[in-house]
Symmetry: none
Subunit: 408 residues, 2 copies
Amino acid sequence: MTQKKMLMIVCDGLSDRPVKQFDMKTPLQVARKPAMDALTRHGISGTMDVIGPGIIPGSDTAHLALFGYDPFKAYTGRGPIEAAGAGLELLRGDVAFRCNFATANKSFVVTDRRAGRIKSGTSELAKAVSGMKINGVTAIFKEGSEHRGVLVLRGGGLDYRVTDVDPHQDGKVLESRALVPEAKKTADALNEFVKRSAEILAEHPVNRERTKSGLPPANMILPRGAGSIGELEPLPQRYGIRCAAVAGVTLVKGICRLIGMEVPSIPGATGGLDTDYSAKGEAAIKLLDSNDFVFVNVKAGDVASHDGDFRMKVTVVENIDVMLGLVLKEIHEDVVVALTCDHSTPVSVKEHSADPVPLAISGGGTRIDGVKEFDEISVSSGAIGRIRGMDLMPILLGTADRARKFGA
Amino acid sequence: MTQKKMLMIVCDGLSDRPVKQFDMKTPLQVARKPAMDALTRHGISGTMDVIGPGIIPGSDTAHLALFGYDPFKAYTGRGPIEAAGAGLELLRGDVAFRCNFATANKSFVVTDRRAGRIKSGTSELAKAVSGMKINGVTAIFKEGSEHRGVLVLRGGGLDYRVTDVDPHQDGKVLESRALVPEAKKTADALNEFVKRSAEILAEHPVNRERTKSGLPPANMILPRGAGSIGELEPLPQRYGIRCAAVAGVTLVKGICRLIGMEVPSIPGATGGLDTDYSAKGEAAIKLLDSNDFVFVNVKAGDVASHDGDFRMKVTVVENIDVMLGLVLKEIHEDVVVALTCDHSTPVSVKEHSADPVPLAISGGGTRIDGVKEFDEISVSSGAIGRIRGMDLMPILLGTADRARKFGA
């Protein structure tokens, strides 16, 4: 049996609830979406609890589950994902933190958690504090967009179970505490990094210049969201597949890199409402040539939902549908294609919700169940039934004749 | 987003199997039930294995699962539930037993396990044996209805893993044995309680009077069903909700109290076929004012099934439907309502069975799946699919926008 290729298209937050003003329909039920419906008609459908029934998925935990990892085991915190998103390669044993550049006074009281959303100079500031040695631990720091950055502590005997330094609002900078005795060295190194980096940043030319221009200096680094990569066996080793991802949003890119996927940069793929859908579709088609598994995330639906904009969300559905039509036309019929969402983001809620998401799988000889439309309700009578996010990747591998036999 | 209120209505044992004499229909398929069907039409439906496929739920384990507890972890034995039902407040570390007052001879051979279903005097007998100190352990005893009672052992180092004293039929009173070494102290205290209480009961005026009147004396206490509350985090703390229950039957009241629900007494709510349905409905409506989650158990369907009375069960369905109609008319459309059963009790079996139960959820913006009738078969094509009892509470919390996000 030839092993088939796999394409997973995740429409971020596209799944929704019915809305009264739109005749108790969801955006997926209102939109014209011939490609999604064709995919559904030619395959099997169902619903999916991405993490589990009644659990609201975060974007990070959701994607881990979609890639077949148990998020309850694999997920320690947001730090490692941000680090991977920023292009820092993590080693086993490293502890990573999301950070903000902030403005604080000499008594370590934060007056602006984002240092006036600082736009330039963070690269120089990052270089000035990165590489610090603290009691056998090396602190690696890299800037992100605007006031954001990532800190990685590297050295023996570290543990991610420490509390945040970031007070999450204006106020006194917190001392990190170890949540377990094994994490004391990490908390100590972290507190020392915060103190020493504040001394360095206070005197840095970038900040002198900012103060002179009346801008709040980026004189404090506030780490939070400690985590380690622990149990994450990379996808290529785990399943013996070459993998690539098409994604605009940093968080999703970070997860994909973390689990060993190739994540090329695609001009125009922004992760926003203005994303270049056809650039994403074309990238996916191209990546399928040299990979066994290609993943595509389209963020725009989630963005429209956070704005509570039903009509915009309908437009997003239709834009994704055009992209999907383009892709389905170009790829071989033997490619196993999955269309789904990472979570629901109802326009009525404007936040992620725990409602299950629709799923359709077609291509590569998949069974055909007679469901005709891709929406939250139609798919629920499909042959897939109701599964968990963690089951999707094994089902795709099974359909692609790449699953492993258990027993004789 | 506003957090919504939740109402769970559990029709005890209403779920059934088809019966030949009634055209291969179930009581739910035969009954006229406009309110149940309306609820179903305005929401989503599915089937539910209350514990798991092929497992016959007890009323105790079923309700634990419906409230979101894993019965395999939370359930240690019936004793704690009976104790809570009898109004004894259990502490962590207590071991509780269900007990019978029985009649035995001087060689500890039981001749009547229910002491002639003794109707009066058990309160005096209970007082005479309660409060006993045994090697640092206090034995608290309280009478229940007729021959029933509850024993609680309190003190350090106790463990519920001991065998029953009750022989479960006429014959020699058993010595309790420790099933694990840690339970030796408990078994010893239990055996000592049985011996000493037998001495006290033998001489008690109530028993002298019974013997004089030719009635079997209640001269032996037979404990069974040892258990501890162990892992049960109360519902209000677990989910941050104020909870109240409307129930007539002692066992269900006991579980609700055990997990921290308010359980007001409702005149006329008997837990039998003669229960006052509208009193229950009105109590539920009232309790929704001051609570986030209200639970209603209606026992009558189970009672009709244990009698094997199909027609009576149809009447019970129609009575519950009237109650439901009253409730749905009064409550706000934003209340998330779940209608289900704790287990099937087929009239053809006259006992609980492992068949899954129907479930419908509506209100509060729930999706709508087009299922039109509330019965064992119609709901099985609904959008909920087939879930487990333990998933129901998280799904309700999710629909009510009270779920927690996992990840970022």
